[in-house]
Subunit: 201 residues, 3 copies
Amino acid sequence: MTLLYLLDLIGTAAFAASGAWAGIRRDMDLLGVLVLGLVTATGGGTLRDILLGDLPPFSLQDETYLYLSLVVSLLIFFFHRRLDFLNHPLLYFDAVGLGTFVVIGTGKALDFQIGFVGAIMMGVMTATAGGVLRDVLSNQVPLILRKEVYASACIAGAALLTALHHLNTPSPVAALAAALTVIAIRLAAIHFNWSLPRAGQ
Amino acid sequence: MTLLYLLDLIGTAAFAASGAWAGIRRDMDLLGVLVLGLVTATGGGTLRDILLGDLPPFSLQDETYLYLSLVVSLLIFFFHRRLDFLNHPLLYFDAVGLGTFVVIGTGKALDFQIGFVGAIMMGVMTATAGGVLRDVLSNQVPLILRKEVYASACIAGAALLTALHHLNTPSPVAALAAALTVIAIRLAAIHFNWSLPRAGQ
Amino acid sequence: MTLLYLLDLIGTAAFAASGAWAGIRRDMDLLGVLVLGLVTATGGGTLRDILLGDLPPFSLQDETYLYLSLVVSLLIFFFHRRLDFLNHPLLYFDAVGLGTFVVIGTGKALDFQIGFVGAIMMGVMTATAGGVLRDVLSNQVPLILRKEVYASACIAGAALLTALHHLNTPSPVAALAAALTVIAIRLAAIHFNWSLPRAGQ
């Protein structure tokens, strides 16, 4: 499916950029920036493939993802001052990546006969585990555990896709609906500054 | 073996509660609390299954573990003030979980023909890696690396089970002896405030 | 190949020592020191085997690595004051381990038909992921992401081995050239205090 592959690459590039920028902010050297870019972009899908037992993972099967992540991270490293204007648009590309990764991850889990909750988890993990690894390597509490409606947008999309799948909705329709759900919730969350409740101590 | 499954579920619930509570103490939002509960309860067994190559892992094969972890974490999130009285009894349920997870993890490694030291490690990892992941995600040095006789109790039980296995002791007897060893050492360590030696610098 | 196995054990011992020492510096107890030694020594190769789907990993197939790591960590724990004089020579053994691990990891990835960039990554990961795990468990930003020409030496060696492999150079020649490249760059970096550029904010 060519459109899905294109969206997947857009998401990969956006995630690599977010990882590389995190490395620069933490004053890492060139290598650290490359590693953070790579891990942020491919970590989620790689963890999904490990859990599904589909090894070697996608990132070692189709090297496009590695090349793309490395090139984006290199560009950010050398031109990050001149690329500052990208910080705002990146939020939109990141949302596109989020929706795409959720659809790919949930869909693959369903193909592997994973159950309802498990399939949702795999979709959310595909989209968010790269960012979690980025934050753990940067020695910070993962952002998605603390703020913003980020993983929640993924849960909504993954749950919708899983439900539509079990209702035998045609795949492309279900995938489109799920991806748009993630993207719409995520953009609304940015626009309206939504956040989840805390327990309060 | 129905008793073992029941003990396994008790341990899962206790571990999920400890993870959810850690998330609340770190001021995480609802999603963070759910993730910590889930990871603490199922992370150890999942890592064991990855290393044994038994994929997808138990937590994606039998969704009971996911549902139970999520429900417990939700309850802790919404009623944590009223559930404060559970903090002390939780230590006992946690000890039961520890003994059960050690027996399940070591036994599975032995079934997979893993060697003496490896089988002990797999048992200890099954019982403790969830807590390590909880602490890494909370940006803290894992508790078990710093204090208390916690993993040590697991090592004793796992070593006993491995030895009894190689001596051809009937499985249920060996499992019971190993689980009781872990639980007894753990409860004695809590009661007498035991700790391991430090190197001293 | 007996020489390679010997070098592999030397590297394993050096890495275990570096992990155990990190645990002592962080005031961990006996168990924490053993875990850090074990993880630093075997974590990289274990992660490589997970990604290649070669499970259980080498460390559970040949228990020599586990025994060696544990014995070295125990020695460091009990005699670390008297072993202080080892701190400088350890840098050299560590460099030998680095070169060996790169050659083993890259070579195994090439045997598994992994592509150019992927094979280099697997070689670098085999040599460095143990140290990254050590630092994550110690709640620090991984050293290799921040300073020193460490992973860079591995990249050079892994790239050379991959290139020679695709040029059909006989394996022992290619392995020797790659290992010496890693070791030479690493020792020069220590001697001349080399570091990689930072992005500068």
